[in-house]
Symmetry: C2
């Protein structure tokens, strides 16, 4: 159901010829109203792709009538001409849809440093507009895939209103947003400010806590569009919970599809003096290549977890640290705990619990193992 699960939205996904292999590569999501409120969260990378620079400006107005998304090219590091390409994309969509370009967001994903084939992209927008449908949410989700092996969608239902969404991303996932594009839609009747608050709350504890390979993309974009078509204005907590549920579902799908991964690793930090400490420690563990290799080898190597914790400035005493892997406390008080032979790591999901014994704050970070397949995929794919 994806971005068309909520009332008031149509979408399309087509093959415009941007990808040389002929796969779908252009998606269009249109908000048919009555309201066109929107919020967005973008990459924290200071090297931002042209569509991110453009869409950040669009979102300042608080209204988005349509989003044009393409795979097959990131339009990042393409200079002033690349920015003109994004501008022309928005102008073309505005012309076809009869709207103002200042309300058209643009998102791109694919190779960095290469100009987009604008003739194909611009004629593709006309074709996509002709195919807009309230049933094409899946097609739109398929058209934004790059190295994704599956498309990702999720839906949450409120009392008379809906939040739906699609995302792409399969590598270069790191905080400050997983490297990805995500469009969420809702028929709840909310102002831009309310959308913004709910979206920031949701991304902070979902996409921002996925760290596949420590690499932060130039193109991360999460948009939330509200049509108001349900006529219902949910209360903030209820709405934020639904947006968070959809984001969490999509984030989990990103981890499950990470390039070359054979394990999904859930790192739960407990006993932290602050939530910030818990997140810092979780990320340090998630970024240890040695630890990620050990998990790949199904080796409950708690020494590498302690090594990673020791690189942070979080509050803890080394001789009070405890670590469990899949429920077995292999490290207690900074030294050997239960028998590591008791740890069963055969399944895809691996849970690491790091207890800092310094307070009662917690955080959960998701990451993947480091595999030879990751190396192969990223040695060959120039992005």
């Amino acid at each position: 159901m994806s971005v068309t699960a909520a009332q008031g939205f149509t979408a399309a996904g087509i093959a415009a010829g941007i990808k040389e292999n002929g796969d779908p590569d252009l998606a269009l999501v249109v908000n048919n109203g009555p309201r066109r409120a929107a919020a967005g969260v973008f990459t924290a990378n200071r090297v931002k792709a042209a569509p991110v620079l453009w869409s950040e400006q669009v979102l300042k107005g608080g209204e988005v009538t349509a989003v044009v998304l393409n795979s097959g090219g990131a339009n990042a590091c393409t200079g002033p001409l690349g920015f003109q390409d994004t501008h022309a994309t928005a102008e073309r969509a505005a012309e076809v849809l009869g709207h103002h370009a200042g309300e058209i967001a643009v998102a791109s994903t694919g190779l960095i440093g290469v100009r987009l084939p604008m003739d194909k992209l611009l004629s593709g927008i006309g074709e996509a507009a002709a195919r807009l449908s309230p049933h094409a949410g899946e097609k739109a989700a398929i058209a934004i895939k790059t190295t994704d092996t599956v498309h990702k969608t999720a839906v949450a239902q409120g009392a008379g209103w809906t939040v739906g969404g699609m995302a792409k991303g399969a590598g270069m996932l790191a905080p400050g947003l997983a490297t990805m594009l995500c469009v969420l839609t809702t028929d709840a009747d909310l102002e831009a400010a309310a959308l913004d608050k709910a979206l920031r709350e949701a991304t902070r504890v979902t996409f921002d806590r996925v760290d596949s390979d420590g690499c932060l993309s130039t193109n991360d974009t999460v948009l939330l569009l509200a049509s108001g078509a349900s006529g219902i204005t949910p209360d903030h907590r209820e709405f934020a919970a639904a947006v968070t549920a959809v984001c969490a579902d999509l984030a989990r799908q990103l981890v499950a599809d990470a390039e070359g991964a054979s394990k999904d690793i859930r790192i739960e930090v407990i006993g932290a003096a602050s939530e910030e400490d818990a997140v810092t420690v979780g990320r340090a563990i998630a970024r240890s290549s040695l630890f990620k290799c050990a998990v790949h080898g199904e080796d409950p190597n708690w020494g590498r977890v302690l090594s990673a914790i020791g690189t942070t400035d979080a509050v803890f005493e080394p001789d009070r640290l405890n670590v469990a892997i899949n429920g077995v406390w292999v490290c207690r008080a900074g030294a050997t705990g239960e028998d590591r032979e008791l740890v069963d790591m055969r399944f895809r999901e691996v849970q690491v619990t790091a207890d800092l014994a310094a307070g009662d704050h917690t955080a959960t970070i998701w990451t993947n193992d480091l595999t030879a397949d990751y190396v192969h995929e990223n040695s060959a794919y120039s992005s």
Copy 2:
């Protein structure tokens, strides 16, 4: 010539049975004076192995008569009993050599979280002491290897005095010291304070600028021992330059022997507003798994360099960044520059130059590519 290149030092390297495969695993370095001044630099990891905690205390006295080094076990995360093991090691060496245990430094490397086989280690110290020789520097260097494929030694000559050294390390190399053990010796006649100053200057621009896999060890130790046997007191600049030369030589050997690496990557950051900015940017590039995979695939993927630069808080404007790979400026002004087909990446050494166009400070960081062999080696080796 290693640690016995300078006058006044003897060494030994033997197989004490700590390693199950019977390889050499115990080294002893003795300073026969007349002076016994020493300085040390240790891991920045807050989770420190027992021998690091011990040797930090020893070095506070400014005098070291001998160093006991073992491979086959890191004695890290072993609790109070592990610290007692280190203490017993120093006591045994003091007894055999007729010195005070408070002047015996200890260094260990190998598996984390496992107690050392103390019976073998203690009897090995007696055997090593019996074999001390001014010609056994190479044997000592061999005995401290873990996954190293070759042993590492270096020597620099002053006017009538010498600095020599040995090091081990082949992975888990990251700033705040490469993960490694290193012992440097000199027959220059210098006080502990002068040694400390020269050693910190040297490590700051050598070992601290090697970042193989972003992982910081629990056991990093660099010691500099001075016998004064030459009777010559070199001036500070001359001496620091010699220590830096030996450290740079050893650091380069560590990179060349990094686990599973097929490329040595020299990252030169130029045009930085400060040296700190240059180092920050160099490390960010060195820690990008995507960039390191691209280098492995001989892909001059400058977009991944820009992505890494964009994650830092260094002073720069995205549209003024320039990147050269092996001398070809593939990125100019934040966008596509010269033809990437001109870049030849067939050789083991790859040079990346990142120009921030924001000042005239520079720094060089060494790293390696990320390979399937790294994953294999670190999936199987529990350390």
